[in-house]
């Protein structure tokens, strides 16, 4: 295998392991340790995509997280991953990647016509072009934008990969394993601190991997290997590679995404694909380094134009040449390091330096190596469409405004260096206000708001000696604060080449008569002219300019573009950069997969599923389940080919005629105990509780302080100081918090304790005319006659040797009882009820039949007590005590709650007695009235009345009590239905309540 651009004797990839992969369907080879970018460049491939807006050809610009161009779509193990940076993704056998943003192919892209229509795509084009007429939005604009935009296609399949979350605590989190990260981690770890060191790349060492330095008589690479090896062996240190700390949140909580399996063909058994770490750190050292700044010139987005440090890293880490005729365009000494590296590898570079006559060790070395250097020279424009073929270069005047000696030279890549920008994203996220440092023309973190410090080049320290000294000191200082140990390690001596000052130059002026596009933001295609236009149109705040032009808003968050954009704004505005200020950095620093954020909480795992002890019985008996909050409840028990409608009707009918049994385990249950329990209930509920005798239950309604009904349910006095409260399934948790609030904060003087007992009891509601006969057989030794156990009575009894509690309460409106036993005996109880009930034609019934029964009785539930109703609205005003005070009482006398035409619950029957009324329908007087049709109220619940065999609904309507007998209309615009209806009493069946007392 020969790779035209692979160097033989340099790099860290494993030459013994060849790896094949495909890019846009074509097969290529690389080596273990290559990224997609390095492997493609080794094969001479530079065209990898099309730009976002103009669909211009895109190559590689960087070598890591800063990459704005080479964003690909990956197929791995039959899963699709969009938004993959080719500079970060390692290759593995069988990897398939393809370009995005181009159709039909990267070489021939129809969207590139945008490039020739660029007058339609100026700054703010989204806001201008796609505004009017509104009807165009769905049909024309949106499909167009959807087709043209985006960095790949997300999979619509269920992701079978596993993602994990992990919570970790440490003394010190260090983000980045460059010289400052390694040195500080070493100093802190040796001083006893619990350290986590995170590195986003596969290899540790950061800039040490590519720089020609010496630390403690070792090369940078050797020294970093030694330190990492020792750190890994220490029990107080966690070292993680392929791990990006992407977010800095409150109270020193940082989130890190660890790519565990992304570089492997397949996720290994027992390992997740990615792991998200929530790290609570006592202290944080941000050693995230710095990113080289581009220089701005004509067509500076052409494939082959890239950062000079990236070109160097491709050589030193991957053994890959980005070109064989390199042009180095620099305003500082860093470009020289790249040039020297080219020269050492047998390639002759040409350096264009914007500075006049700089001198330093590195420049001298370059000169001594015989490298061609042109001072006071700039690149005016890159030439070539899909790849750099040559460059127009020119001499630049001392004031940097005029070009002369414009000429063209051949080259196959242009390596740019516009000096360095500290990566202050994490510090900024932590709330650290940065300050502009004139010496480096960039922002560095200021005073820490949280417990963090930024060190090394992320803090604007660009010499290794300074960095190493600072990092060792900080590592010791921070760890000493936490551990109070005093083990100081000695700082090694550093040898490095001295460099000289950079040139405050960043944008090449246009030659007369030329209108080259000069790009600032490479991912979002924001050019110098876009910023100029935005400012002409009156945008001033940098935050507005950003949003209007989309500068820095792409997935790379402007890692390479922000400062040049700020420079431009400040130049035009005649301000200095610090006055313009920079935009806010927000997490994530690099894109994070949704899978990692979600973790294991997918589908049914997103919350616990609660099942009653009788669940298995329901399953065996063909129950169709429904989610009731976190509970699974039988909706109906299917017989043969029955539909939901048929089954629930059968079940409900059987309750009215014979007897049915319903699993009511899910009801919230709260034990209320203590000498002041009665007084407490009296304050919590709207009705009177002081005189409830032992052995009796009472229905109660509780309000919020604003007068709205919070919940309802029965509470039974078990003994003198012990009450058993029930709540609705949905409100159980809220009611408990509510009670705790009043007991702990408002009335701490009340001697009462509350505790949830929902899971302690299994419950079965036995309802129907035959229920007493059934009870007599279930509890032969207990008097369950109407006198022995009257309506709202309570008894403890023995169910074939199991202690049981019988409450004579009814939700269905029939003669009914609720039997509770300890959860462990729930199934036993259920089976006994079914077994003994056979002779009484017992049938289990689900929530659908339960709803039918309560609706036709006019019993309110969650759809009426919906957070908007007061007791009056639900016809519960009879339960509101006039004598005593209770939570929310004072609100009931507010004018809106006492007006005469206040909404009230009513029954609704269709005139044709056959058309079901959709829930949510409006009740209106005139269906043909002009829209918006004034509505009287809405239908809260609908059922098929089994008593009368016709549809019946509950509605809450204005002046409800005076509406009874009126003929109105139920309108459902959603279902496109208008149904003539008659308003009747909400108590459709047994309005006197005789059955429950029978």
């Amino acid at each position: 295998m020969s790779q035209e651009f692979r160097l033989d004797n340099i790099g860290m990839v494993n030459r013994n392991k060849k790896i094949s992969f495909t890019f846009n369907g074509k097969k290529y080879f690389g080596y273990e340790g290559d990224t997609i970018a390095s492997a493609l460049i080794a094969n001479g491939v530079h065209l990898v995509g099309r730009s976002f807006k103009y669909h211009r050809p895109r190559g590689f610009f960087g070598v890591g997280v800063d990459e704005p161009y080479a964003i690909l779509q990956l197929e791995r193990n039959n899963e699709r991953d969009p938004n993959i940076r080719a500079t970060e993704q390692e290759i593995f056998e069988g990897l398939e990647v393809k370009s995005v943003n181009c159709w039909p192919s990267v070489n021939f892209d129809i969207g590139a016509i945008n490039n020739f229509l660029k007058m339609f795509f100026p700054a703010g084009f989204y806001y201008k072009t796609f505004m009017w007429p509104p009807s165009f939005w769905y049909k024309i604009y949106e499909p167009f934008i959807r087709m043209a935009a985006g960095f790949g296609e997300a999979s619509i399949k269920h992701d079978k990969e596993r993602y994990e979350h992990k919570y970790e605590y440490c003394d010190l989190l260090i983000t980045g394993s460059g010289p400052s990260g390694l040195a500080s981690a070493y100093a802190a770890a040796k001083n006893g601190a619990r350290v986590i060191l995170a590195e986003d790349k596969p290899r540790y060492g950061g800039s040490l991997l590519t720089s020609d330095v010496n630390i403690g008589n070792q090369t940078g690479v050797e020294w970093s290997e030694k330190i990492i090896t020792e750190l890994k062996s220490m029990s107080n240190v966690i070292v993680k590679n392929r791990s990006q700390v992407f977010g800095y949140y409150d109270h020193n909580m940082l989130v890190m995404s660890e790519r565990i399996s992304d570089h492997l063909p397949k996720t290994q058994k027992y390992l997740p694909k990615q792991r998200l770490w929530y790290i609570r750190a006592k202290e944080v050292l941000i050693s995230s380094g710095s990113i080289e700044r581009p220089l701005v010139f004509g067509n500076n987005d052409t494939p082959g134009v890239m950062l000079s440090s990236a070109a160097k890293e491709y050589m030193k880490v991957y053994g890959v040449l980005v070109g064989k005729k390199p042009l180095i365009f620099t305003n500082n000494d860093s470009g020289y390091e790249t040039a020297i590296e080219f020269k050492k590898n047998g390639v002759n570079p040409l350096i264009l330096d914007t500075r006049k006559e700089p001198s330093s060790d590195i420049i001298t070395e370059a000169k001594n190596l015989g490298i061609d250097i042109k001072f006071s020279y700039v690149v005016v424009a890159a030439k070539g469409y899909k790849k750099v073929k040559s460059a127009d270069i020119a001499k630049i005047s001392e004031n940097k405004k005029d070009l002369s000696n414009i000429g063209n030279i051949e080259c196959d890549c242009i390596c740019v260096s516009g000096f360095w920008t500290p990566s202050i994203h994490l510090a900024s996220q932590s709330g650290n206000k940065s300050e502009f440092n004139e010496k480096i023309d960039a922002f560095i973190p200021k005073k820490s708001k949280q417990k963090e410090n930024t060190i090394g080049s992320a803090n604007g320290k660009f010499t290794l000696e300074e960095t190493i000294n600072e990092a060792f000191d900080k590592g010791y200082e921070v760890s000493n604060k936490i551990t109070e140990n005093n083990n100081k390690v000695s700082i090694p001596t550093v040898v490095e080449k001295k460099s000289t000052e950079h040139d405050k130059f960043w944008c090449v002026p246009l030659p007369k008569g030329k209108s080259y596009k000069r790009f600032l933001d490479f991912q979002n295609d924001v050019a110098v002219t876009d910023i100029e236009l935005a400012l002409r149109e009156g945008f001033r705040s940098i935050e507005h300019v950003k949003r209007y032009t989309t500068l820095g808003m792409a997935t790379d968050q402007g890692k390479t573009s922000n400062l040049n954009g700020l420079q431009l704004v400040s130049d035009i505005e005649n301000k200095v950069v610090p006055q313009v200020g920079h935009t806010t950095f927000r997490p994530p620093y690099t894109p994070v997969s949704i899978g990692a954020i979600v973790g294991r909480e997918v589908g049914k795992h997103s919350k616990p599923t609660r099942k009653s002890p009788m669940h298995e019985w329901h399953e065996k008996n063909n129950a169709v389940f429904v989610d009731a909050g976190v509970w699974l409840r039988p909706r109906y028990y299917k017989q043969g080919n029955e539909t939901l409608f048929e089954a629930s009707k059968r079940e409900a009918k059987n309750v009215r005629k014979n007897v049915g049994v319903c699993d009511v385990t899910t009801l919230g249950k709260i034990d209320v105990k203590g000498p002041d329990a009665a007084e407490f209930l009296n304050r919590v509920y709207t009705n009177a509780w002081l005189k409830l005798p032992v052995g009796k239950a009472r229905y109660g309604v509780m309000l919020r302080e604003d007068g709205i009904v919070m919940d309802d349910g029965t509470t039974t006095r078990i003994s003198e100081n012990h009450y058993h409260m029930t709540t609705t399934t949905a409100q159980a948790a809220n009611v408990l918090s509510h009670l705790e609030y009043y007991l702990q904060l408002v009335w701490p003087e009340l001697n009462v304790n509350v505790v949830s007992t929902t899971e302690q009891w299994a419950g079965a509601a036995i309802a129907g005319p035959n229920s007493r006969a059934l009870l007599m057989k279930l509890f032969p030794n207990t008097d369950v006659s109407n006198e022995g156990l009257p309506f709202m009575g309570y008894k403890e009894a023995d169910l074939f040797g199991i202690p049981a509690k019988i409450y004579r309460i009814s939700f269905s409106g029939e003669l009914a009882y609720e039997v509770n036993v300890e959860s462990d005996f729930g199934n036993f109880m259920w089976e006994k009820i079914i077994e003994v009930g056979k002779e009484f034609q017992i049938q289990p019934y689900g929530t659908e039949a339960l709803s039918t029964l309560r609706i036709e009785m006019g019993h309110v539930a969650g759809s009426e007590l919906d957070g908007r109703t007061i007791p009056h609205d639900a016809s519960l005003e009879g339960l509101v005590s006039k004598k005593k005070d209770f939570i929310g009482k004072r609100s009931l006398s507010r004018s809106a709650f006492t007006k005469p035409d206040r909404e009230k619950i009513v029954g609704v029957v269709p005139l044709d007695k056959t058309t079901s009324i959709p829930e949510g329908s409006y009740i209106v007087k005139d269906p043909k009235a002009k829209l918006p049709n004034p509505k009287l109220g809405h239908v809260s619940a609908s059922c098929w009345s089994v008593e009368y065999d016709n549809p019946f609904s509950l509605a809450i309507i204005k002046d409800g009590k005076n509406m009874i007998g009126q003929k109105l209309f139920a309108m459902s615009p959603l279902k496109n239905k208008t149904i003539p209806v008659e308003i009747v009493s909400s108590h459709y069946v047994d309005p006197e309540g005789k059955r429950v007392r029978a």
Binding site: Y167, Y249, D250, H251, N252, M253, Y278, R280, G431, K449, R683, E705, D706, A733, S737, E740, Y741, Q744, L745, V746, P748, K884, D885, F886, R890, S891, R894
Partner: protein, 89 residues
């Protein structure tokens, strides 16, 4: 995510707690005359200060105690936490 010191349990993550609003609001006494205005203020009117704020948090996934937390609403800095019945100076 905040790190809240529960006076009963120690420092715990915010996701164990539920927020409970302004801790300085005092519920009017029961059975006492109160004007519409005063009652409305109690039910609805809350200051939303930027800066120090004494607020209630409920340690629902822990000890189930309501606690008071003195927190800066703009920086999230927590100065001190108190038990429900603790005197606040």
């Amino acid at each position: 995510m905040l790190y809240i010191f529960c006076p009963h349990c120690g420092s715990r993550s915010q996701n164990e707690f539920a927020y409970g609003g302004d801790a300085t609001v005092k519920r009017p006494e029961l059975n006492k005359e109160i004007s519409d205005q005063d009652w409305d203020n109690f039910v609805y009117l809350r200051k939303s200060p930027r800066g120090k704020h004494l607020e209630l948090w409920h340690h629902i996934s822990g000890c189930r105690q309501w606690i008071k937390v003195e927190r800066d609403t703009s920086t999230h800095e927590i100065f001190k936490t108190y038990k429900a019945d603790e005197l606040i100076e």
